[in-house]
C-alpha cells in the first residue's frame, strides 16, 4: 500500500513552489489535526462520567472565542496571500512567459490531439503537424498550450508538471508550463467525459532542444511527403 503524503517528483519550473505551498499547508493542517484530535480524546477520557462528580457550569468565554477566531483568520489569510503569488505566476495573463513555444491541444472523446506549427511557422494552418495522444515539447523552454475541445469538457492533466486545466468546447484556454527534465511523463484526462474517460491518457514527451527541433523537422518533411 502506498500511503505516502509526499507529492510525486515535479518536473516543471513552478512545481517546487507549488509543492512547497502544499507542504506548508500539510504541516499546518497536520499540527492542527493532531492537536485537535489529541485534545478531543484527552477530554473525553479525562471528563468521562464518574459517580458523584458534576460537570462544571461554563457557558463560554469570549476571550477564548476571540483567540481562536483571530488565530484561524490570520493563518488562513496568510495562506491565501501565500497562494496568491503562486497562482498569479501560473495563471495571470501578464505573467505568461515571453518567447514561449506555442502549440494547440484539442481534446475529443477520447483522444488528445496536439498540433504544432508546420514549416510556415504558423499554428492553425493546413500544414500543422498533429500527433495523437502524444504531446512533444522542448525542455527548459516555456510552452504555451492553447486548450480546446471538440465535444465535451475534458481536463488536461500533467501530474508531474503540476498542470491541470479544463478544455471547454467553444473556448480556447491558454495555459503555460516549462519542463525542467527530458523524458516521458503521463498525460491524463481529469474530467468525466464519457465511457472512455478512464483511458483518455497520453504521454508528454520532453525532448532536449536539439532533439525537439530534429523531431519537428522530421515531422514536417513527413507531412510534406504525404502531399
Amino acid at each position: 500500500m502506498n500511503l505516502s503524503w509526499l507529492m510525486p517528483e515535479s518536473v516543471s519550473t513552478f512545481g517546487p513552489a507549488l509543492d512547497n505551498l502544499y507542504y506548508v499547508i500539510l504541516w499546518i493542517t497536520g499540527i492542527v489535526f493532531v492537536v485537535t484530535e489529541v485534545v478531543l480524546v484527552y477530554f473525553i477520557i479525562k471528563y468521562r462520567h464518574k459517580e458523584g462528580r458534576k460537570a462544571t457550569y461554563i457557558e463560554g468565554s469570549s476571550k477564548a472565542e476571540w483567540i481562536w477566531t483571530s488565530a484561524t483568520a490570520v493563518i488562513v489569510m496568510a495562506l491565501a496571500i501565500y497562494s496568491k503569488g503562486i497562482w498569479d505566476t501560473i495563471r495571470h495573463p501578464d505573467m505568461f512567459p515571453e518567447n514561449a513555444y506555442e502549440l494547440n491541444v484539442t481534446a475529443k472523446q477520447y483522444e488528445w490531439n496536439a498540433a504544432y506549427a508546420g514549416s510556415d511557422g504558423q499554428l492553425g494552418t493546413s500544414d500543422d503537424i498533429v500527433s495523437r495522444n502524444q504531446v512533444h515539447v522542448p525542455v527548459d523552454q516555456p510552452v504555451i498550450v492553447n486548450l480546446q475541445s471538440e465535444d465535451v469538457i475534458h481536463s488536461f492533466f500533467l501530474p508531474q508538471l503540476r498542470v491541470k486545466h479544463d478544455a471547454v468546447p467553444g473556448r480556447v484556454w491558454p495555459i503555460w508550463f516549462e519542463a525542467t527534465q527530458t523524458g516521458e511523463f503521463p498525460l491524463a484526462c481529469a474530467e468525466l467525459c464519457g465511457l472512455g474517460h478512464y483511458r483518455m491518457g497520453g504521454t508528454l514527451i520532453v525532448h532536449s532542444k536539439e532533439d525537439f527541433d530534429i523531431w519537428l523537422s522530421e515531422m514536417q518533411i513527413e507531412a510534406e511527403d504525404d502531399e
Binding site: R132, Y198, D226
Partner: protein
C-alpha cells in the same frame, strides 16, 4: 424475525410496494431494450422465393483514375494494436485493388416490385470484428433485425458508437475481449459506426429489409443471388465517391452481369448519409423518443 409496529409496517409495505411497482414496470422496458427476439422467430420462416423462377446478379466495381494515397494510421499511442500489424495500417476510405477495382462498395437492391412486401427470414448473426484497432469488415450489409455480433479481439477499450438518422443509435463499450449483440430495426443506407477511443476506426453498415445486398471484395466482385425474376434498381454506395444506380432485369435461371464504375474525379460526390462522422456538423437531433 422482527415485528414492526402497525403503523411502521404499513409505511414500509406502502413504500416497498411503490418500489416493486417501479421495479416491475421498469423490468418490462428493459426486456424490450434487450436484443431483439425477431431472429429466433424468423428461423422458422420459409424463404418466399421459388428458386426455380429466380435468377442472380453478379458483377464488379471498376475504378478509373489514379488511386488516392491513403494516410498511414499512427498507432504509436496504442502499442498492442500497432504490434498486430506487420506493415503500417492505412485508412480504408478508398481501397483500390491490384486489379483496378474498388473494394468496400455496398451494392444492394434499392427498388424492385417483385420483392416488394415480401417477408424474408432473418439470417444468422453477422460478425463485426475489432482486431488491431481496425474494423473487419470496414463495410458490411445486414438485414433489418439481423443480429450483428460485435467482437473485441484487442483486449483493450473500444466503444461502438452508431449514429443512424432513421432510428435510435447506440454507444456501448467493450473494455476487454468480449462480444456484444446489436441490431437495427429500420432500413438505412448507411449507418456509420465509429470508435471514439481510436479516432481512425470507422465502419459502415447498410441495413435493408431483404437479403439482396453485397459488398465488393478484394477483387471488386459482388453478387446478389436468388432474386425473383423482374426489374430492379440496384445501387452501389461508396463512402467517398457517392452512389450510382442501374436498372437490371433478372430472368429465371439466368445471371445478369453488371459493372459499376467509380472514378477518382468523383471524390467530392455527395455521400447520401445524413449523419456525418464529424460530431461538429451534427444536425439538431430532437426526436430522441
Amino acid at each position: 424475525m422482527f415485528v414492526l409496529g402497525k403503523n411502521e409496517k404499513l409505511i414500509s409495505v406502502t413504500l416497498l410496494a411503490t418500489l416493486v411497482v417501479v421495479g416491475c414496470g421498469g423490468g418490462d422496458s428493459s426486456d424490450s431494450a434487450g436484443s431483439s427476439s425477431a431472429a429466433s422467430e424468423a428461423t422458422v420462416m420459409e424463404n418466399p422465393v421459388d428458386p426455380s423462377t429466380a435468377g442472380n446478379i453478379s458483377g464488379s466495381v471498376a475504378f478509373e483514375g489514379s488511386a488516392p494515397a491513403m494516410d498511414a494510421i499512427d498507432m504509436s499511442g496504442e502499442q498492442v494494436c500497432a504490434d498486430k500489424h506487420s506493415t503500417a495500417p492505412m485508412l480504408q476510405t478508398v481501397v483500390v485493388n491490384d486489379n483496378g477495382t474498388l473494394s468496400n462498395v455496398f451494392v444492394y437492391v434499392k427498388e424492385g416490385s417483385a420483392i416488394e412486401g415480401m417477408q424474408f427470414p432473418t439470417p444468422s448473426a453477422a460478425l463485426l470484428d475489432q482486431d488491431g484497432c481496425v474494423y473487419t469488415p470496414h463495410v458490411m450489409g445486414v438485414m433489418v433485425d439481423q443480429e450483428i455480433t460485435i467482437r473485441n479481439s484487442d483486449g483493450l477499450l473500444h466503444n461502438i458508437n452508431a449514429s443512424p438518422t432513421e432510428q435510435r443509435g447506440f454507444n456501448t463499450s467493450q473494455p476487454f475481449n468480449m462480444e456484444t449483440s446489436q441490431d437495427f430495426g429500420t432500413p438505412e443506407v448507411m449507418v456509420p459506426l465509429r470508435c471514439d477511443v481510436h479516432g481512425w476506426m470507422t465502419a459502415f453498415v447498410g441495413v435493408v429489409n431483404h437479403p439482396y445486398h453485397s459488398v465488393s471484395d478484394g477483387s471488386g466482385g459482388f453478387s446478389l443471388s436468388t432474386l425473383p425474376e423482374g426489374d430492379y434498381v440496384v445501387e452501389a454506395w461508396h463512402e467517398q465517391y457517392g452512389t450510382q444506380a442501374q436498372t437490371v432485369t433478372v430472368t429465371a435461371g439466368g445471371t445478369t452481369d453488371i459493372t459499376f464504375t467509380f472514378s477518382a474525379d468523383m471524390a467530392n460526390a455527395v455521400v447520401p448519409m445524413r449523419t456525418p462522422i464529424d460530431p461538429h456538423d451534427h444536425p439538431l437531433v430532437t426526436d430522441h423518443q
